[in-house]
Every structure is written in structure tokens, then in C-alpha cells.
């Protein structure tokens, strides 16, 4: 079933809002997705009917809340096609998931001179945790450049991976270039040298079918807020035999087996990695969001996304003075960065906002990539299942007016 985006708009209450007297055209889904009614309703019903702390109480509400929370874990495992929910850990967001790996795995596995392979197109979330870890452990980071086609340079990647490589960490779908990384191929390269392979799925999760087993990932992270779930929840999946061996990261209630005043022993997975009261209602919301996406079908969403990308790229390319970034092809989803000649991206974004069109401007938490593209920042329009061609037409119209309005402002 193809996505009927115009009909889907009705699923998102906020899309009926007006901004500066214009109807809202939300083209910032890559920063954070809006929430379908179904998610809001699920969270609200949970608080009104079943809320309590989890894993703790001997009473009905607590048992119900625990069942809801653990059902969400099973749901995430299914969404990722993970073999078991035992190695699904709830975190705040993709960022925390990556930091968890850096601490629990990295602080014991990395030694001086060991190497971490990253690409210049990573989000800061998949750079900074490794900077902090490398500084502590004396490890070396190898940055892989883009090829001339603005995809990750696979030859350079293969060359960067060597006998000292302990980790390869890269994105599944780029939050700027909109392109899918050949993850399964990278997994082979990483595994050939025995390195851990972590995939940052923050942008892929809302857009593509994910199968962590087919991808060959050892660890996979994503954020709930980008898939239409509430803020404050995300998930980390790690291959089970690996996760079982990692020491704890955060300490506190729920993750223990026995505690004395000066020492403790720790619970088995996944509890070992979930210290304290978790984001309970947020997990329930994540469950509802994944149901919503799977009902529509990730394959259909990905088709819709790519069709919109082709349409938008075609229309924007026809505009004088607009520069587009990112590759074209069947591996290109609906994230479209561009610049307007002689107008700063922030001014473009404000001018679009004045017409109700919400886009992002800046470095998109990808400063190294900006440098690789030879820019300081870009405008970025990003699409999702509720985005229509009409939205893109409004974007194009608004960009035309921007040029008129600003004339040449350096």
C-alpha cells in the first residue's frame, strides 16, 4: 500500500496549526517528528489507567505498568528484527545509546593505540562520545572522507580499517545527505578484523525497514522522538552474547542483584543497563508509534520518502541560485539540504518560517561534514509520511520569494 500523505496529515494534531497566519508546513521531521494522535492517546490512557513504577510493586497497577513497559521492549525487538528483547535497552535517545556503548564496552575494551573508524558524515552524537573515550583510553580516531559522489568513500573506509581497529561506528541514513550507508558491506569489513560494529539508526528508524541481523550490526541505536514517539526515550540493541559480558554503566536501583553499603553485584541483561525509574510512559508511547509505522509499512514509507526526494530535488534544481547537497539515486531519502546564493541559511529559514514553512538551518550537528562540503551551514528540508508534494511546492514558492526579498546579502 502506498502512503496517502494527505490523509496521514489528519493523524497529526499539530499539523492543523497556523504559523504567522499561514498553515504550518512542517519540513523538519529529521530534527524531530511530530506525534500521531494514536501515540498521544496511548500515553494519556496509560497515565489515566495503568501508571505506576515498574518491576517493583506487588500491586495491580505496578504489574500492569510493568507488562506495558516490557511489551514495549518486545515491540522494539520486533521492529529491529532482533532475535530477542533481552538485549534491548531503553535509553533517553540515540545519543545516550552510543554513550552507553562507549562506557560499558569501550572503557574496558579499548587500549592505547587501538583505533576507532568513523566517517566525516557522522552526527555529533556518533563523534563526541568517541572523542571522550579516545582521550581517556589513548585510542586513535580515523576519519573516513566522502567520495566525489558525496557518499562515504568505501575504498578509504576499507583502507582505514586495519588490525588495530576495535570499533567501526557509522550512520544508517545520513541526517544531512539523506543517503543510506551500505551498512551490511561495512559490517563485513569491520568483522573481518574483529572490530565491534555500531550503527547509528537515528534517521533510518523513521524511514526504512530495519533488520539488525541482515545488516550485521553488533549494536544499533535509535531515538523515539524521531519515530513519532514521545521525547525522552530511545533504544539500544546489542548482540546478546556481547551485551551479556559488558559491565554496568549507570548504577542505581533495578540494575542490581545484591547491594551492601560499600559494594554491589549486578543484574543480568537488560536490567543491568537500566538504572533507576525508566521512561515508562514514553516506552508505552514508543510502542504505539512503532505500531503506527508498521501498520503503514516501513517499505511504503521509504518509497514515499524517496519519491518526495526526487520531486523536491527536481524542483529545487530548477531554481536559479539554489545549490543542493547530497547524492541522487535509489539510496536517497527525503532529507534535502540546500543553500540560496548570497543569503545566509538562517535568514532563509526565517523567511520560510514567515510563510509557515518550518525548515532547519545550521550545521545539523555535523560540523565535520559541513567542512567536507565546503560550507559553514545549510538549510535543510526533511520529509516524513505526512509530507505531500503540495508541501514541497509551497517550499519552492517560498524560496523564490526569499531571493526577491533579500536580493544580494552576503
Amino acid at each position: 500500500m502506498a502512503i496517502d500523505a494527505a490523509a496521514r496529515r489528519g493523524d497529526f494534531p499539530i499539523l492543523s496549526r497556523r504559523v504567522h497566519d499561514a498553515p504550518l508546513v512542517y519540513l523538519d521531521s529529521a530534527a524531530s517528528a511530530q506525534k500521531p494522535e494514536r501515540v498521544l492517546a496511548a500515553v494519556d490512557a496509560f497515565y489515566r489507567g495503568h501508571y505506576a513504577n515498574v518491576h517493583r510493586g506487588a500491586h495491580t497497577l505496578s504489574a500492569e505498568a510493568t507488562a506495558h513497559y516490557e511489551a514495549a521492549r518486545v515491540r522494539v525487538a520486533r521492529f529491529l528484527n532482533a532475535p530477542s528483547e533481552r538485549s534491548v535497552v531503553f535509553v533517553r535517545n540515540a545519543t545516550e545509546g552510543i554513550n552507553l556503548v562507549a562506557h560499558a564496552w569501550g572503557r574496558q575494551a579499548l587500549h592505547a593505540g587501538d583505533e576507532i573508524v568513523l566517517t566525516v558524515a557522522e552526527h555529533h552524537a556518533n563523534l563526541v562520545p568517541w572523542h571522550l573515550l579516545a582521550a581517556e583510553r589513548g585510542a586513535v580516531i580515523r576519519g573516513v572522507p566522502l567520495g566525489s559522489d558525496q557518499r562515504v568513500d568505501m575504498e578509504a573506509l576499507a583502507a582505514a580499517i586495519g588490525p588495530r581497529t576495535k570499533l567501526v561506528a557509522t550512520f544508517h541514513l545520513s541526517n544531512v545527505l539523506g543517503v543510506v550507508n551500505p551498512v551490511a558491506r561495512i559490517a563485513e569489513l569491520a568483522h573481518a578484523v574483529g572490530a565491534l560494529f555500531l550503527v547509528d539508526g537515528a534517521q533510518a528508524a523513521p524511514h526504512l525497514p530495519i533488520d539488525v541481523q541482515a545488516l550485521g550490526a553488533d549494536a544499533y541505536v535509535f531515538s523515539g522522538h524521531k519515530v513519532g514517539a514521545p521525547s525522552g526515550i530511545g533504544a539500544l540493541w546489542v548482540r546478546e552474547p556481547l551485551l551479556r559480558d559488558w559491565p554496568p554503566f549507570l548504577g542505581g536501583g533495578e540494575m542490581i542483584r545484591t547491594v551492601e553499603v560499600d559494594r554491589s553485584t549486578y543484574a543480568d541483561i537488560p536490567m543491568r543497563f537500566e538504572a533507576g525509574t525508566p521512561a515508562i510512559a514514553e516506552a508505552v508511547g514508543l510502542h504505539a508509534a512503532l505500531d503506527y509505522l508498521d501498520d503503514l509499512g516501513l517499505a511504503a514509507i521509504w518509497d514515499h520518502d524517496r519519491a518526495l526526494a526526487r520531486y523536491a530535488i527536481g524542483r529545487l534544481r530548477a531554481l536559479d541560485g539554489v545549490t543542493l547537497y547530497g547524492p541522487e539515486g535509489d539510496d536517497r531519502g527525503g532529507i534535502v539540504p540546500f543553500n540560496v546564493a548570497d543569503v545566509h541559511p538562517h535568514d532563509v529559514a526565517s523567511a520560510l518560517d514567515a510563510r509557515g514553512v518550518a525548515v532547519r538551518a545550521g550545521h545539523h550537528c555535523a560540523q565535520p561534514l559541513m567542512r567536507a562540503l565546503g560550507v559553514r551551514s545549510t538549510v535543510r528540508a526533511s520529509f516524513w509520511l505526512h509530507t505531500t508534494r503540495a508541501d514541497i511546492d509551497l517550499l519552492v514558492e517560498a524560496i523564490e520569494e526569499v531571493r526577491d526579498f533579500f536580493g544580494a546579502v552576503a
Binding site: H55, R56, G57, A58, H59, T60, S62, A63, E64, T66, A67, E70, V74, E85, R86, I256, R257, T258, A267, D268, M271
Partner: protein
């Protein structure tokens, strides 16, 4: 207290008050500790296994009426059985306690079925069985002692 009566059936209360096979076993082939981290309850299970048969089983430790009754009835049920039979029994018990119905081979143990409706207490009922499972694994691996948490080997109904 109609709801309570379904959980705490007379036979359950009777086993809890007068548990069978309580205490240490000597000699034993494996001594396995099982703990429930969420409440701190612990069980120590002793098995005497010979020629693939559980010849004797006893338990010690502290716990609620449900965990004590479950351990008491379990030790009764496994004594004299072949390991393969015990493994089937474990599977049937776990299925029952997770609400998937009671296999006839469970015999008297069906009085514990009501607990499947009391999600908050399922772990109390399974503690003895998870410990038994781990004890058999330890025995098979030639170990004489071990510790297991009831959170382990979860099957998604945690």
C-alpha cells in the same frame, strides 16, 4: 476475598505452612542458589543426581507463601524422575505460570495456576523452577554450585 482464594488455594497455604523437603541435603551433586533481586528473597536448592535421575531434592532459604509452596511442591514432583522428564516438567510449569494453560503431567502443581493471573507474583512462583533449571545446567557442566537470578532466562514475560 474471592480473588485471593484463587491464588492462595488451600493446598498452596498448606504447603507454605508445612513445606516438604526443607533443609540441606548431604551428600548432594549440586547446590544452586536462586535469588529474586526485586524482593531479595533467596532459595537454596540441593539436588542429588545419579545416572540421569534426580534421586533427591531439598531446599532452604526465605520467601513468601507462593515461593515456598512452589518450591515444596516442585521438590516433591521431581524426586525420582529422569532429568529429561524434569526438563519437560519445567517447561510445562513455566508455560502454565505464564498463562498458557496447564499440561496434565503437572499433576498437583495445577493448584498454582491461579498465580498466572497475578503478574506481580509470577516471579515468586518461578523462583524455584528457574533455580532448578540452572541447577541441572550446572550439574550437566560438572559444577557443584552456582547462583542464578529469577530475572535471567526471561521469556519476554518479565
Amino acid at each position: 476475598m474471592g480473588f485471593l482464594d484463587q491464588i492462595y488455594r488451600d493446598a498452596v497455604l498448606e504447603h507454605a505452612r508445612s513445606p516438604r523437603n526443607r533443609g540441606a541435603l548431604d551428600p548432594y551433586s549440586v547446590k544452586q542458589e536462586g535469588i529474586n533481586p526485586s524482593c531479595g528473597d533467596e532459595l537454596v536448592l540441593y539436588l542429588l543426581v545419579r545416572d540421569g535421575v534426580v534421586e533427591d531434592a531439598r531446599f532452604a532459604g526465605h520467601g513468601c507463601a507462593i515461593s515456598q509452596a512452589s518450591a515444596s511442591m516442585m521438590t516433591q514432583a521431581v524426586k525420582g524422575r529422569a532429568i529429561a522428564e524434569v526438563e519437560t516438567l519445567i517447561a510445562h510449569f513455566k508455560a502454565m505460570i505464564h498463562g498458557k494453560g496447564a499440561d496434565p503431567s503437572l499433576g498437583d502443581l495445577v493448584v498454582l495456576e491461579g498465580i498466572s493471573k497475578l503478574h506481580a507474583r509470577v516471579k515468586c512462583a518461578t523462583l524455584a523452577w528457574v533455580t532448578l533449571d540452572a541447577a541441572l545446567a550446572a550439574e550437566a557442566a560438572g559444577q557443584r554450585a552456582g547462583q542464578v537470578s529469577v530475572d535471567e532466562g526471561s521469556d519476554g514475560s518479565a
